[in-house]
Structures are given as C-alpha cells and as structure tokens.
Symmetry: C2
Subunit: 465 residues, 2 copies
C-alpha cells in the first residue's frame, strides 16, 4: 500500500513553542532526527514527523498528547524503530514521541512471576535485569525491540509456540489516551472477568488508540533443563511434516523454527556458521531433565521418519546463544546476501493442518520468479516469513514482490489464516484488512472513532477513518 492519500497537517508554531517550553532540548526538529524517526526496518517509504519529543515519564507523554489534541496534530509513538510495516511513518506529519528514555524496570514481583516496565525497556534489557532472579521473559521478535512496541504490535517470535505471544503475556498496560488522560487497563491478578478486556484491545493497536507507557508482563521460571538442536532434512516438505506431527502429538517444544536452504546459506555467511545447506529445523526443549529427554526422544523419532539427519546439539548456554542469535539475525543475514537491498518480509500464518500445502504452493510461486528470497518461520504456530531482498529503487521489483505477497496472503486467507501472524498492519497491510475481516472492519473503525474522535493517533494505520 502506498500512503499518497495523505496530506500532511500543517505544523502549528504555537504547538512547537509549547512543546519546546515543556521539553527544552528533549524536543528536536532537526532533519536528521526527524528522518530517523519516520522510517522502520522495511522497504516502506519513510515519512518524517515534524518534531520528535523524547519523553521521560507517563505524565510527560500525557502532556504532549494533550497539547497535540488541542492542535489536532498527529502523534506517533516510537520505540526502537524496528517495525516492519511502516508503523512509525508520520504519514500526515505531526509529533513523534520517542519512548526510549522511558527505560526503567519499575518492579519485579518474583513471587507472582510478573514485572512492570516502562515502555522503552527492551526485551534483552529486561532479561539482563532478571539475570539473578531465575526468571525470564520469553517473547523474542528478531530485533531487540522495546516492550512497549512489542505490546503495540502484538509481537511474538520463536518462543510463542510454547509461551504464547504478547497477547497472552501482557497482564496490564498504562495508556495515555488521545485526550491526554491516563488509564490502567487492568489490575495485576492472573485472571479477571471484570468488564471489557481493554488490555487485549490495546495490545496490537499500534498506537492508534493511545500510547502505551508502561507494561506489566508475565515472567517464567528458567527451566531446569534446556537443550537446543539442529536437524537438516532432504526436502522442505519433510521438515514441515515433522513440525506438524510434533505439534499434533502435543510435544511442548519451546521453539521449532524452519529455515530453508537460502536462509541457512545466509546465516552461515552472516554469522560464520557451518550448517549444512538444506531445509533445517532449529529446536529448543524446556523442562526437567527427564521431561526434556522424553520430548527429544519423540521428536527425534518423528524427524528420523522424515529423513532428518542426526540432531546436532547445542548444550552449553554459549552454544545455544550463538544458535539463536543466528536465527534472530536471519533478516539481516538475508539482506546481506544482496548488499544495498531492502527487505520485504511476508508474514502469513495458517492453521497447522494447511502449513505444508501453503509452503509448497509458495515455493512453486517463487520458482517462477526472479526475486531473491529466503524463508524462515515460527512454524509451530503455522507462521512463516519470506524475506524478499529487493532494490527499492526498482519499481518492477517492488511490483513483483507485491504480486508474490498478494498471492501468499490470498492463499493464507483461503486457508483460514491471516495476512500477519506477528508483524502487524502498519500502513503496509491495510489493503488486506477488508478481505481478512469483512464487516468486522467496520467494528474496528467504530472503536477507533469512539476512542480517537480527532483521528490524531498514528493516523493511516490499521483502519482509515
């Protein structure tokens, strides 16, 4: 989707003056700073905001939003800028609120297995902070994203097959509403039946209904035993069938990741590894010693039936870190195969019974195209990505990637899947919302209009109003 339909809202000098009075040199209008805040890690055209406000407290965010509301000026939240569908693009200009200075871990309740953090805390920062507690936070998109941004896009990653996504792992949020009021979406109890589920409404709302300033997340005890393994297969179909049987057998794998031969080649080169260049599964097993042994026995047997090689184990923490860092760097590794290219990451997710068919049909499409690509995916959830490495200066490449992506999304929807398992809508996937949601999109639009009647919150994302 292009964003040419938008006109920039003229930026009121009185708003600028008020913001500057409030924030001093934590307000920037420098071209470089604005440009950096209007782009994410995708091929989508950047759109710089008029100003960037570096907020340090919820109260400050509330004051900024209230001022922007007064001047009917767009407000866009910014965490680490690692979104993939143009989420942070200031399509109509306005004020970007950079939350990276809100980076304090506010509270860890080890006994209750939860933590409350400011929105700018990144996932690695939280896990570093938790190091001596025996607890961890499992959600891991490829980037070291901010936890506020991860909540805003309903992120997941490699652990979701076992631990769920941000949907399941956010207990409560502090939100600055479009008029500057501040709410807390829930208490800290593990469950509640007290009214509408505002937490889940704001998780995945991409800054279009309010700005997340604090997040209470679930934590988990670090398992007694963890082991990771790599297994190469003769064909991608064999690897996918291994995944499907593993899930259908109820094996509680913590991670089960598919990489095609192109992606393996990319990470070998990028991360200086020597994996066999073949369709490959990366596994991780969590549990007690005996539990992990049981899980691996079952999965090894399934893999062997599908022609899988012997498991190559990563048993030390260092070896496991290296393995998963390489997996998390897959996107950057793929781009490095074609220097100067931009990534167009696809993100369909289908019911697992359709996964083999979906991947096979996708591979057939790719075989007839010249666009270079690599495949990696959280296949235990039925979610996989292609990364097209395109030259964004070449319209014919954008057109071809777009055609392939359209076909993937149409196929996923026909298989009762979704156009995005975890990246979100941003402005890149809005055209698919009509097909995916039909008349339900009108309900989303009603909610947007009710909560943000002035339409100032990240305009042009999720729904047009």
């Amino acid at each position: 989707m292009t964003a040419t339909a938008f006109e920039r809202v003229p930026f009121n000098p009185n708003l600028l003056a008020s913001l500057r009075r409030r924030l001093g040199d934590r307000l920037s209008t420098s071209a470089a700073v604005c440009a950096q805040h209007g782009k994410d890690e995708s091929y989508h055209a950047p759109h710089a905001p008029d100003a960037v406000a570096f907020a340090q407290t919820t109260e400050e965010v509330a004051e900024i939003v209230a001022l922007c509301a007064e001047y009917q000026t767009p407000v866009i939240a910014f965490g680490t800028g690692t979104s993939l569908e143009g989420h942070v693009a200031a399509l109509k200009g306005g004020v970007c609120i950079d939350l990276s200075q809100m980076n304090k871990v506010l509270r860890v309740n080890a006994e209750d297995l939860d933590a409350t953090v400011e929105a700018g805390v990144t996932r690695k920062q939280l896990n570093e902070y938790l190091r001596d507690t025996g607890l961890f936070f499992p959600i891991d998109p490829g980037a070291d994203a901010s936890i506020g941004g991860m909540a805003a896009t309903r992120a997941s990653g490699t652990n979701a097959v076992r631990y769920g996504t941000m949907r399941e792992n956010v207990l409560a949020l502090t939100i600055v509403l479009p008029d500057g009021k501040v709410i807390r979406t829930a208490q800290r109890a593990r469950k509640s039946a007290a009214g509408y589920d505002l937490t889940r409404l704001f998780v995945g709302s991409e800054g279009t209904l309010g700005i997340i300033t604090e997040v209470t997340v679930r934590l988990y005890g670090i398992p007694e035993a963890i082991s990771a393994a790599v297994c190469a297969f003769p064909t991608i179909g064999d690897a996918v069938d291994t995944v499907i049987l593993t899930i259908q057998n109820g094996v509680p794998v913590a991670r089960i990741e598919l990489l095609d031969e192109a992606q393996i080649d990319a990470i070998n080169k990028y991360s200086k590894l020597d994996h066999k260049v073949a369709p490959t599964l990366f596994f991780e097993f969590h549990g007690t010693e005996a539990g992990v042994a049981e899980q691996t026995d079952i999965v090894k047997a399934i893999a062997a039936e599908h022609g899988g090689d012997d498991f190559r184990w990563a048993t030390t923490p260092e070896a496991r870190s290296k393995l998963w860092q390489a997996r998390h760097d897959a996107y950057y590794a793929a781009l490095a195969l074609r220097p100067g290219s931009k990534g167009w990451p696809t993100d369909v997710c289908v019911p697992i019974s359709r996964l083999a068919e979906c991947i096979a049909a996708t591979k057939d499409d790719l075989a007839q195209s010249t666009i270079p690509s690599a495949l990696a995916g959280h296949v235990g959830d039925g979610n996989f990505h292609l990364i097209f490495m395109i030259d964004p200066e070449k319209p014919e490449e954008i057109a071809e990637a777009s055609r392939l992506n359209d076909r993937m999304v149409a196929r996923a929807l026909a298989m009762e899947g979704t156009c995005t398992g975890e990246h979100g809508i941003g402005y890149g996937k809005m055209d698919f919302m009509v097909t995916e949601h039909g008349p339900a999109l009108e309900v989303m639009r009603s909610i947007k209009q009710a909560l943000d009647p002035k339409g100032i919150m990240n305009p042009g994302k999720i729904v047009q109003v």
Copy 2:
C-alpha cells in the same frame, strides 16, 4: 447492587407480531417461560423479559436483533441460565433470545486442535462429542454451561491454572451486532497481528456489545497420564502456602483446588463422600507417566512440609470423575446445608503472593459474622469463592453478606486483585467497576456507546450508559 433505577421499556405489539410471524411457537410470552428466563442461579432479584425467542440459526438471531433494534427494545442472550451476577435479568424488559436450540457441534479440526460449535453447545456436550478423538476442551465452570455463555462471561474453572480461561481458549467468534449485522471476529490461525483483537473484546462482554452465536475453541490432547489426589491440612494457611510454593516452583499442575472444612462437610453430605473434614486441596496432574510422577513428587514434598496428610489418590477415570463432580457440585452442596437458602458467591482474585493474607483476613471477618459460608477456590490462579447461604427474604442477611463481600472486594483491590476472577459483572458487581477501573471505565463506556448506540444489548450490565 439493586436494579431499581431501570424502567421497563413498553413492549411494542407490532414487534411481538413480527416476532411471532417469524418464529411461530418458538416465541413464548408465557409467564412461566419468561420468569424462568429472567433469573440465574444467584440471589439477585429476577427480572422477566416480555418474550422469549428460541432461535435456531445465526440468521434468525440476526433477524430478531434487527427487529428489536427497529423498536429500540432490549435484547438479552440466554444460554443455560447458570450465571451468578444477574446477567440474564431483563432489567428493562424486552426479548430474551434463548440459544439452547443452537446446539450443534459444527466442526472439529482434530489436526489443528480446534472445534467450532454453536453457542448453545454445553461444555459436557462438547467433551462427549470429542470422546473418540483423543481430544478435550478443558474449561469447566461448576455448571454445565453453554460455551456461548462461557465466552460471554469469560468463564474459567478448575483447569485454568494450566490451560487458561475462555480468554486464552477462544480462537474466534461469530457475533450478531446490535444492528443485526453478522461478523466473524478472526480467522482460525493460532495467532494474528491483524488489527484490534475483537475476539478478546467480545469474550467477557456479557451480551452487551452483541450476541455470540458460534465459538471456535482450542482443544487439547488428552494427556497420556492423569492422576488426581486429595490432601488434608491442619490449617487453611498450610494449604494455601502449599499452593503458593507449587505455583512459584513452576509445577504445571492441571488443577489445584482449595476447600475449607465447611465446604468439605457440605460435599461429603451432598455427594455421599467421606473426606476428612479439614482444609483440603484437590490436585490433578497431567503429562507423560514420568512427568506426572515428577510433578507429584515435588508437590507431595511441599505438602508434607506444611503438615499435609498422605495423598489419597483417585486413579481410575471413574474415581476421578466422582472427585471432580463433587468439586463442581460445591455450590449446590453448600446451599443444601441450609435448605431453602439462596447462594451469594463471592469471586475475588489476587496475585498469588497475597493469597494467604487475603484468605486469612477474610476468615477473620467470617469469624465475627453469623452468616453461614463455605470456601472453595481455584487457588492456583489466586481466585477463591465464599458462598454465603442466605435467606433472600431476610434483608438483614442480604445486608450482612453485602457488607462482607464489600470488604472482600476492597481488600482484593487493595492487593492489586479484581472483584471477579470468573463470574463477571452482570448487574451484581457494577458498583465495584468504578473503584476497580477508575477512568478506564470511561473507555468501556465509549466502546459500549459506539457499538450499541441505542443501548439495547443487555442493558444495565457492565457499564451504565
């Protein structure tokens, strides 16, 4: 809360005629049928609807709702009438839509571990249907409630500590909106980041935003090994401490239920059992043979440190069924202790670190009161219930139960908990919404007004508009 603030909307004879033309003898205005549909299982004053429509399809529900919208007449959905906060009371009169004839299991996708059912299918009916598939649906409120009703109240039950609540286990819903339009809230993929989470918005909305007519739920493989055990403790504090340590140790118990001595006495009498009359935990362990053995070893050790008796095992399916049926009948068993009484079930839920303190303070309150009560709870979630057995004809008993409940809720909220872990708000708990949610209640009200501008959907529940 009383519901005296409401005036009944005059029932338009033209609406009645239209409904009768459409439904024939599946529309009833008999006093007995209306009375039965205006009350639930609680002490709350019943309010009969003007008519009851027995719908058989989503299209029929849509037509009924569209007609009611035309005449600005309230619409209340009815499943099995087993709610506990007056959810089905027709406070302003109107049309009750009874969904019990929408009782078909539409589709089981065994490979994807999901099923789609009509809203009137009950949890036991679904599990009976699944009997030969090796799969089960875990959510189990005490009553054999309809799955539509369970989604509408965000129900949970004894298995939630391991399998989650309806929040985690509904994949998608078919909803009839307040204007009669029909939407599907999501596709069938396990995860999606495509827009606002309408599924979670409607789960727990108690028929105030639309009527749930179909539910797609997650299923689970029946574990290889299941064992259940009962363990009595010297004091309730010892039992609670055992629960807390079990959860904090990350033991994946499937069920961990607390019953105080009054509740044990009640189920002994009601279900003809011979449990020792003492504070007691009921456990269930799911997993592989080895996994279950590991879990029980850990929990037995924790229990022994807290003075727990030897575990009494229920190993055969029949013995387990008997055990859990007795637990599910706890509410009815408590009421039977005082023939003719009505139940006032409380439902607070707190972070587990506060559970022991919360229960101890509650017990102190009870010691100074004359209202008979029994305690049972899903303590692994921090959720517990008192059942007050009151004579609803005696205002002083209602006043005393109300006072005790108010104190419990205030205490739970002060401990960062909630006024309702799983029963919902109905009209019984609306007064607590202000304290629990503060300014967030205004967001709920905006959503209600946006989606149901005529205010016809189950008026007087969750939020006043």
